[in-house]
Subunit: 339 residues, 2 copies
């Protein structure tokens, strides 16, 4: 009897200490506060970027949004004005094409002018776009455009901002937004996944390097976002990819914006906004810092078994699609073209 009690006690102790450690890890120790901070948000005119800008404005930050489309920028700025917390908050919008290195640099310099040539305390890189398609229907130009709209649109801003930080001997926060397609990939994403994987690589290199300058790096890996960009990407998305994703429900931008800011506040390097992204994060963690070690073990175990099963399902769906795909390519004249 005693030994059973002992066994039960051990189990209870184990559960309690697990819970304690789990809660301990979740407890914000030195929470970053956006109030009064100068936050720079790219892709800030719509989707996730706009949601992040609104959330930061609501938390009392000075917010500058940058995007290409002037009309959408004006509307977005009007929305920010509506959520302003005080008359002191500096809210601005600028139109720049961030797939260009010089423009990415100029955009930051312009934004800094509104703050007495001080650079942002945090840069939220939310710009990006996906144009899914079949690899055999891509060409060098569409592949390069894919890399521009996933990788360079954030990397150029990161480069300009890091130089400004180090040169002005201040510290800051680089916040990248990636995708679970930066952890893994599937049919249809040959112009998207490479750039998103590249962002993971850049962030991992910079996390290590920016220790030199007391600056931090964060990167969020989310699933599909319920945004104008998602509607746009589904127009070119192959039918087979849509079929595989048919059970996915895109997440609302404001939910992701909240998770992104929480992640930065907690100081997470990899920010996973929901259970699925946590499972994939923990299953591809490598040398990346763990979050809560105990929860991560659980996620990794689920991923270890679940992800290969999911992949087998996808593989067999692709295999069944062979005949239809050949007909599709023939109808598009692929077998007659010569590029």
């Amino acid at each position: 009897m005693l030994q059973y009690l002992g066994y039960e006690n051990s189990v209870i102790t184990l559960i309690l200490s697990t819970l304690f450690l789990a809660l301990w890890n979740m407890w914000p120790t030195k929470k970053w506060d956006p109030r009064g901070q100068f936050c720079y948000v790219t892709g800030g005119s719509s989707g996730l970027g706009l949601a992040v800008a609104i959330a930061l404005t609501k938390r009392g930050a000075h917010v500058t949004i940058v995007a290409r489309n002037e009309e959408r920028l004006a509307k977005a700025l009007a929305e920010l004005e509506k959520t302003r917390q005080s008359s002191n908050q500096i809210l601005r919008s600028y139109s720049f094409s961030l797939t260009d290195a010089d423009a990415s640099h100029a955009a930051l310099e312009t934004a800094a002018k509104d703050h007495g040539n001080r650079y942002p305390d945090a840069v939220f890189m939310c710009a990006g776009a996906a144009r899914p398609g079949f690899f055999v229907e891509e060409d060098a130009k569409s592949m390069q455009k894919g890399m521009d709209n996933t990788y360079w649109v954030q990397a150029y801003t990161a480069l300009a901002y890091t130089k400004q930080l180090v040169r002005s001997q201040t510290s800051g926060k680089l916040v990248f937004t990636c995708s679970i397609l930066g952890y893994m990939s599937l049919i249809g994403y040959s112009t998207y996944s490479p750039g998103k994987h590249a962002l993971r690589g850049l962030a991992e290199s910079l996390r290590s390097e920016l220790i030199l300058y007391n600056s931090s790096v964060h990167i969020m890996f989310s699933g599909n976002i319920d945004s104008p960009g998602y509607v746009e990407e589904n127009r070119t998305k192959p039918k087979i990819t849509l079929e595989i994703e048919s059970t996915d429900k895109p997440t609302a931008p404001d939910v992701l914006a909240k998770e992104l800011i929480y992640g930065v506040q907690r100081g997470d390097f990899h920010i996973a906004p929901d259970m699925l992204s946590n499972i994939i994060r923990s299953s591809t963690t490598g040398a990346t810092p763990h979050h809560n070690v105990l929860l991560d073990v659980l996620y990794a175990l689920i991923g270890w078994i679940g992800l290969p099963l999911w992949r087998r399902g996808v593989d067999s769906t692709v295999l069944k699609h062979r005949k239809e795909h050949k007909d599709y390519l023939a109808a598009r004249g692929f077998f007659k073209s010569t590029d």
Copy 2:
């Protein structure tokens, strides 16, 4: 007593079945034979590429090597001739700049002419280069060059080859060569890791997509290679990165070439040529197919504990380097420049 025997028996059964499963997984079921196959090797004039070309020639394949430097190509072709197994083997070399999309296409078309306009049975993409450095000392041009020499130098060949395969309705093998810096990263590799991560993303997308065409994708993740390229990259490698890597011993190209070909023969998607790369592979596996599930669990466990410990060590080395790095940047005039 009986229960102890039973326990021992269970353990023995467990060990035996583990060993059986491990051996079963290692056993090549339908081994690819390079003999008589048309193999195309990029970066084939030196380092890993040349070693792969020699190994394939020794196994009786027709081998075409492509690289930029004509002098080195001529020497390499002479080496291939020395290892020729029969007079029927077609051994060729061509000079093309594979960071260019059109040249990558033209190189494959030229090679196909020697085989009656038949495209290669397997393409080994071994071209690539690293120029490590500090992120704040990079510019848009050096970042783009980094992407050219890691990602595009293989992606353009993959694009041209896949189109040719699908259009000619044949099947083939795409073999990428990546690095463990495509799984993780550290200080000094901001122009290298992104492109290598991008290759992982591309390969993962194509593995899924090329099921449509009965073609296979393989990608090797190796550590440093004892090659002319390694000597070259160490010239620009930051001192701190050299210090972190000081215990690494680069692997001989012929050892890696052998492992690469074994991996392709076994049909592995991710090819890890040694224990360290297997540990990192298993720790970042995600939805990527497992190799031997039991061995992979062991590798993943080692990685789960070991890799974060290694990273902490690296982080503290970087932290200690702050003062020296600031002096270095000052001496280079970084704080006075304005780019």
